[in-house]
């Protein structure tokens, strides 16, 4: 079946602009996660959606970052007023923890470059 998809695959933006990154999880997966991977920081958790529960936003680095998940499926990560330190690969993953399946399935990522 289809895996996790992310768009765009690459995004170049100017400092100060807003960007939106999209994630389509695997159908039926109730949990959705966003991570960020950069050279200096490794893989960092950003935000976690599970079903209808309030999202775990504990990893968002600043209030310029926000995410939403509409209809329990597609998610959008928004970064406002981008800074050069936001340059990274943003990875989305989904899983079915409610059914005891804890492994996460990752998308190919969006490489964000802020110039």
């Amino acid at each position: 079946g289809a895996g996790v998809s992310q768009s765009p695959s690459n995004k170049v933006t100017e400092k100060g602009k807003d960007v939106e990154l999209r994630c389509d999880p695997i159908s039926g997966h109730t949990a959705l996660y966003w991570y960020r991977q950069s050279l200096g920081q490794g893989l960092e958790f950003l935000i976690y959606f599970q079903g209808n529960s309030a999202p775990d936003k504990s990893g968002l680095p600043s209030d310029r970052f926000s995410a939403e998940r509409t209809g329990g499926s597609v998610s959008t990560l928004t970064i406002q007023r981008t800074q050069q330190e936001d340059s990274a690969v943003y990875l989305c993953a989904s899983s079915k923890p409610g059914q005891g399946t804890y492994e996460q399935y990752f998308g190919p990522g969006t490489r964000l470059t802020v110039t």
Binding site: V4, A31, Y33, Y35, Q37, G42, L43, E44, F45, Y48, Q50, D56, G59, V89, L91, A93, S95, P97, Y102, E103, Q104, Y105, F106, G107, P108, G109
Partner: protein, 113 residues
């Protein structure tokens, strides 16, 4: 900050040899997972070991978990050039962090043909 610390940071071996990577963590876990990443993009899940398990096998992979030492190891036997990738351990700490993974810094494995 990363809970998992992995060593070595880089490992270079010949095809056919075994590769062992280690991971240490700081807090109690629900489970520990290993992932592989090629070319800096999407991660692929390899194996999951629960906190009440000590060893698990999957094909050429063998994972051990020692909760008393808060450490895990991943062994790849009879390595192939296609195993060249970065390998990450990730801990699921359960509780209020249920399902959220904390990744180690990773081990870069190079297998020479």
């Amino acid at each position: 900050s990363q809970q998992g610390e992995e060593d070595p940071q880089a490992l270079s071996i010949q095809e056919g040899e075994n590769a062992t990577m280690n991971c240490s963590y700081k807090t109690s876990i629900n489970n520990l997972q290993w992932y592989r990443q090629n070319s800096g993009r999407g991660l692929v899940h390899l194996i999951l070991i629960r906190s009440n398990e000590r060893e698990k096998h999957s094909g050429r992979l063998r994972v051990t978990l020692d909760t008393s030492k808060k450490s895990s190891s991943l062994l790849i036997t009879a390595s192939r050039a296609a195993d060249t990738a970065s390998y990450f351990c990730a801990t699921d700490n359960g509780g209020t962090s249920y399902g959220k993974l904390t990744f180690g810094q990773g081990t870069i494995l190079t297998v020479h043909p």
